[in-house]
């Protein structure tokens, strides 16, 4: 898959302080999570990619365009949902989204049509003629999403889209983001300090720490790998069961009390485990996949050297 962002020694200094340092690597994937603790440089990286801040060293390419020379063209291909509360007061949601579409180059009639569609799509169809200052935080977040996708960009950049949302509103937002990513018509960068958001929506992740890349991983691959790691709780004589597992070629480790951790080898399926257990008169009472891959990656990245270098 073509890289969404290529970082080529990118460094950014703001007010004389280095914020991003020598970022190198390529971000590919349909939806990419940008993770890091507060102050890691996530928002600065997004702003630099959009041309809000100038690169002090190196460069980056977004969808093949250089941020130093093609900033305007990049912004034409990108839809951006900012982190902070941002809106134009005194106009209705539909007029606001329509204006944003027109500024992106859509003709007036197309902009109007897509503004209505975008607002229906994010679930604000009934509220589209209301002035935005009357909206709740969750509604304002959804309007920001609508303006980010109204001009059908190739890449949508979402900066902390679930900030300040209550659980139902967060669920709605995550569902929308997953739907957009699944549509296949657009690539997505999601910046968040919430691992769960990235875990649910993204298939790749870039972890930043103190302005440097601490990890750049393919979550889809990790998930596929994790499907091989199992945790089991058995009842009965587990000794003969684990011996049988060994004969199948699976690695295992006992945690006592019938609890096992194991790795499935190629060609061995879950149903083989149940068959084996039945043959050995052992009950499998619980079977879980390893689920905390992103957390492991994140914690490992944070624990690695203090300056964030890999």
């Amino acid at each position: 898959m073509e890289s969404v962002v290529e970082l080529d020694g990118l460094g950014v200094r703001l007010a004389g302080r280095p914020i991003l340092k020598d970022l190198r690597g390529a971000l590919s994937g349909r939806s990419i999570g940008l993770l890091g603790p507060n102050g890691a440089g996530k928002t600065t990286l997004l702003h630099t990619l959009l041309g809000f801040h100038a690169a002090s060293e190196g460069t980056a390419r977004v969808l093949g365009r250089d941020i130093r020379s093609d900033s305007k063209a990049i912004r034409g291909m990108v839809g951006y949902m900012p982190e902070n509360e941002s809106f134009i007061p005194g106009i209705s949601a539909v007029r606001f989204v329509r204006l944003m579409a027109e500024l992106s180059g859509l003709p007036r009639s197309a902009a109007m049509e897509r503004a209505h569609e975008a607002l229906f799509y994010v679930g604000l169809g009934e509220a589209r003629y209301r002035n935005m200052e009357t909206f709740s935080l969750g509604m304002k977040q959804r309007v920001k999403l609508a303006q980010a996708l109204v001009h059908a960009p190739k890449l949508i950049v979402l900066d902390e889209p679930t900030n300040g949302l209550d659980p139902p509103a967060r669920q709605k937002m995550i569902k929308l983001i997953k739907e957009i990513a699944a549509s296949g018509e657009v690539r997505l960068i999601l910046s968040s300090h919430l691992l769960r958001d990235v875990e649910e929506c993204c298939d790749a992740a870039l972890v930043l720490k103190q302005g440097r890349i601490a990890a750049n991983c393919d979550l889809e691959q990790e998930r596929r790998a994790n499907r091989k790691f199992l945790e089991l709780e058995t009842h009965g004589d587990s000794g003969s069961f684990v011996e049988a597992l060994g004969r199948l070629g699976c690695e295992w480790a006992s945690q006592g009390n019938g609890k096992l951790k194991m790795v499935l080898t190629n060609g061995v399926e879950i149903r083989d485990l149940y068959r084996l257990a039945a043959e050995q008169s052992v009950q499998i009472r619980r079977l879980d996949y390893k689920r905390d891959s992103l957390q492991d990656i994140f914690l490992k990245a944070m624990e690695d050297k203090t300056d964030g270098r890999l």
């Binding site: 007010a15 944003m100 992106s104």
Partner: protein
């Protein structure tokens, strides 16, 4: 398919020209300004001086009207350069200034106060286009009350008065057009710079009013009290009058300064205002 049943879909239609996109911003600005009824009433009142001058022009060339009003044709007010300059000065420097004071801050302050700039500037739309879009609203509105009606009035007078008058007053249309544009640009950039600095409609109006008039008063004290003629240069209204007097060929007495220094003041005011605008109109401000 009903609109609410649509899933996310791409766009395959055409795009507008980049150079014309700032007009969308200007169009929205004008619509918002005219949404206030009080402003519509004020805007209509701004045409009164032009209507009065039009009536004077018509009346002074109409024997029936003069007879009806029992005015001797010899006593008819002269329609000439000072007349046009006087009306235009009232229109631009009083009503135009008030219009800029009302509209300018309302165009920029809400965007800055509500963090709307990242939304504008994350599109293929830069700061220059944003400022151009906002300036276009003020320039458009101020043009409709200054050089547009006064050029029409000049044409009306030329039509009634004939070739001799037109030949003797050929400087007037140029003075109306160029003079109006100088003042419009000056007052518009100031009216946008103040809210860019203060992010509040009310305070930027107060700031504009106080700064312009306080500077003028301070300049007058310097000029009259201490004999420093340079003090007059702090008064943009006065310096605009100096430039206009040269263009309309109408001498002004008090407060006259060399033409170059008047131009320097007006250009300086525009440059400072544009500098403030470019410094403050950013997607995000870097806190030092």
């Amino acid at each position: 398919m009903a609109v609410y049943e649509r899933a996310y879909r791409g766009y395959a239609g055409g795009y507008t020209r980049e150079a014309t996109r700032f007009f969308a911003l200007a169009r929205y600005g004008v619509q918002r300004v005219f949404a206030a009824r009080l402003f519509v009433a004020f805007y209509a009142a701004c045409f009164l001086p032009a209507v009065v001058l039009g009536t004077l022009i018509y009346g002074s060339h109409n024997a029936k009207v003069l007879a009806f009003l029992r005015v001797d044709p010899g006593d008819v007010v002269l329609i000439n350069s000072p007349m046009f300059m006087g009306f235009l000065a009232f229109e631009g420097k009083f009503l135009g200034f008030l219009l800029a004071l009302i509209v300018g801050p309302a165009l920029i302050a809400p965007d800055l106060a509500n963090n709307a700039l990242p939304l504008y500037l994350s599109r293929p739309f830069n700061r220059t286009e944003y400022i151009a879009g906002k300036l276009a609203v003020l320039i458009g509105l101020l043009s409709t009350i200054t050089w547009v009606p006064y050029l029409l009035l000049y044409a009306l007078q030329a039509y009634f008065a004939g070739w001799e008058w037109t030949k003797d007053n050929l400087n007037i249309p140029g003075a109306i057009f160029v003079g109006s544009w100088i003042w419009i640009l000056c007052i518009s950039t100031i009216a946008l710079a103040a809210p860019a600095l203060l992010k509040s409609k009310l305070w930027s109006r107060v700031f504009m009013f106080v700064v312009l008039f306080a500077l003028a008063a301070f300049g007058a004290v310097l000029a009259e009290g201490l004999g420093l003629g340079l003090g007059h240069n702090l008064n943009v209204f006065q310096m605009n009058l100096v430039v206009w007097s040269e263009m309309f060929d109408v001498p002004i007495g008090e407060g006259s300064r060399p033409l170059w220094s008047a131009w320097a003041t007006l250009i300086g005011a525009c440059a400072i205002s544009l500098g403030i605008l470019y410094r403050k109109v950013r997607a995000y401000e870097v806190v030092r």
